[in-house]
């Protein structure tokens, strides 16, 4: 039996120390995902607290044979959706555009240029550009891409989080990626248009 399952069983028997251990084991992961989704450092702790509170009250109904991590991701994402819905912040259309240098970085990043070789200001600039591009996507597409590319979940794991078939997940990924690429290419074209003027 995995550590999570053992802790969950102890929690289900009313052991509060086990729940504390469970929180400590997963808090970084929840903080990371919440931050990726909402991008508001000041809100991360409150949302993460809500996530663990929900988990505490729902643990009695949790089936021990199910994947705890998938359940944790699902609750975290739903909590982020709630927050984003309340905030009702409209997606910002990318007004500032990609420079050739940034575009080249996105095209090669990971294969040629390693992020640790970049200076702090360049990292900040790239991160802000990437965030701006991602902010145009609907939260459901963004959460899928974050889990796939940042949390490194496989297609199989994504099927458990979103309770969908592998083909449905692949289709959603295909659409989300093409949407993001269209936003990226629009930003590149704008920059080229400006250069011509």
């Amino acid at each position: 039996m995995t550590i999570d399952k053992e802790l969950i069983q102890r929690c289900q028997q009313g052991d509060q120390a086990a729940f504390e251990l469970l929180v400590k084991k997963h808090e970084r992961r929840v903080f990371g995902l919440v931050y990726q989704m909402v991008r508001q450092p000041s809100e991360v702790e409150d949302i993460a607290q809500e996530v663990f509170t929900k988990i505490y009250f729902s643990l009695p109904q949790f089936r021990i044979e199910a994947s705890f991590e998938a359940w944790l991701y699902r609750i975290t994402i739903n909590q982020c959706y709630d927050y984003l819905r309340k905030r009702k912040r409209e997606a910002q259309v990318t007004e500032s555009d990609l420079s050739d240098e940034e575009a080249a970085f996105f095209e090669r990043f990971g294969s040629i240029t390693q992020p640790r070789h970049l200076d702090i200001s360049k990292r900040l600039e790239l991160r802000q550009t990437a965030e701006r591009l991602l902010s145009v996507l609907p939260p459901k597409d963004r959460s899928l891409l974050i889990l796939k590319e940042i949390e490194d979940l496989s297609i199989e794991e994504l099927t458990q989080v979103f309770k969908s078939s592998a083909s449905a997940i692949k289709l959603r990924l295909f659409r989300a990626r093409n949407h993001l690429k269209a936003v990226y290419e629009k930003s590149c074209k704008k920059e080229k248009g400006k250069q011509r003027v």
Binding site: F31, E45, T53, G110, R123, L126, I155, N178, Y184
Partner: protein, 174 residues
Amino acid sequence: MSHQNLKGWLEDYAENSLSAEMTQDLEQHLAMCRDCQEQLRTIRLTANILRASSLDEAPAPAAGFARSVFLAIEQQRENYFFWSPLRLVALKAVPVMAVLAVALGSFAYTQISSELNAQQLSEEPLLETSLELSSKWGQEAAVFSEQISQDKEQVVSTLLEAETLPQEQGKESK
């Protein structure tokens, strides 16, 4: 293997989860398929954008985060346990309400359709009666117009008589 099937392998290829044989098949296809090449480029490009968005560190949980979760749980416990049974009842009531709605809907449908049938049946004799009436009125109208034509003939003949009578009287007096 079709293009669509091979295109469906691209996500697995990008995450290195294809078997050696499948990888070889896909790479052979990729060498000559521009559409799949473009989709693979999209997968890599979007992965790069996502990775770039996570170049900064998320805020780290404070040392007492687990304690603050317990405080939040204690604050919500009373509220949760008050509403929890009601929530359970509401959850159980949803399928019952759905079944009732379907039953009521089908009952209403059968009632309305039977009423419509009955109305159709009762409308048929009315139609017959109206047809009978119209034919009767037609006959009456024919008789009436015949009478009028006869009356007209009589009037014409009376007028003619009236015209010819003074002329005859004049002749006689001469």
